[in-house]
């Protein structure tokens, strides 16, 4: 029996679960416009995973990176949910660097 994939699956469940929390809180206090930075961090973790020789380290880095990339695609809908009052709306969001440029880009959504 090989428990590696199974245990990694449990870790994935936990990391995706964290995704629900950080997308909701992150959108509330920081806002949709942070998406390029989170997307970038996600890709950095995926590239980093290629250079980690420990299988657990590489896999967890890849999974966390992929979860960050997915999270950015959830930001747009989460922003609409707060406007509808389905989640608390917080007006004084902390703006990211280059917010005015990022505003012109289309936020990812799948």
């Amino acid at each position: 029996m090989n428990t590696f994939g199974f245990l990694l699956g449990l870790a994935t469940l936990f990391i995706i679960g964290l995704g629900f929390i950080w997308v909701i809180r992150g959108e509330r206090y920081f806002g949709l416009l942070w998406w390029p930075y989170i997307l970038g961090l996600g890709f950095v973790l995926i590239v980093l995973s290629l250079f980690l020789h420990n299988d657990w380290g590489s896999a967890l880095s890849g999974i966390t990176g992929a979860s960050l990339v997915w999270g950015t695609t959830e930001f747009k809908e989460q922003a609409v949910r707060t406007e509808l009052g389905w989640y608390p709306f917080y007006a004084k969001k902390i703006q990211p660097p280059f917010a005015s440029i990022i505003k012109k880009w289309k936020a990812p959504h799948l």
């Binding site: 199974f6 449990l10 995973s49 299988d55 896999a59 992929a66 406007e83 009052g85």
Partner: protein, 136 residues
């Protein structure tokens, strides 16, 4: 030598979530009886986890382990999606007999997809939210 295991694990995670995200919405929308897809997702998830435990090849064990948990989660999300339709947080399907009952019996249920627009940066009332959608 590069270690591609993280890339494989990351791709499995992303594709598993993507498939679930789109699949759960579509299947809940169309299915006349929800217990069938729920059972199927849970069963497929368990089969993936069983395969993950049996297969010695590490990257295959990884793929099945990750896809398995996303499928198990999808089973749960199918039921949560039905709750969202009842609350009017996801659009009801008038050609689905299960949804027709929601539309007729639950005032909050609606065919409008309230998430299908860009954010405007401020809270909106339900009436004003409806005006933000283009006519279809």
């Amino acid at each position: 030598m590069m270690n591609t295991l993280g890339l494989i694990a990351g791709l499995s995670t992303f594709l598993g979530i993507w498939l679930g995200h789109v699949g759960v919405r579509k299947i809940e929308h169309a299915a006349p009886k929800l217990w069938l897809p729920v059972l199927l997702a849970l069963l497929l998830g368990l089969i993936c986890e069983y395969l993950s435990l049996q297969i010695e090849t590490i990257w295959l064990s990884t793929v099945f382990g990750i896809l398995g948990v996303t499928l198990l989660w999808d089973g749960l999300e199918l039921m949560r999606q039905e709750m969202r339709v009842k609350k009017g947080h996801a659009p009801a399907n008038p050609s689905n007999p299960r949804h027709i009952n929601f539309i007729l019996e639950i005032p909050a249920a609606t065919v409008q997809d309230f998430l299908d627009r860009d954010p405007i940066g401020q809270p909106v009332s339900p009436d004003k939210a409806l005006q933000l959608f283009p006519e279809r």
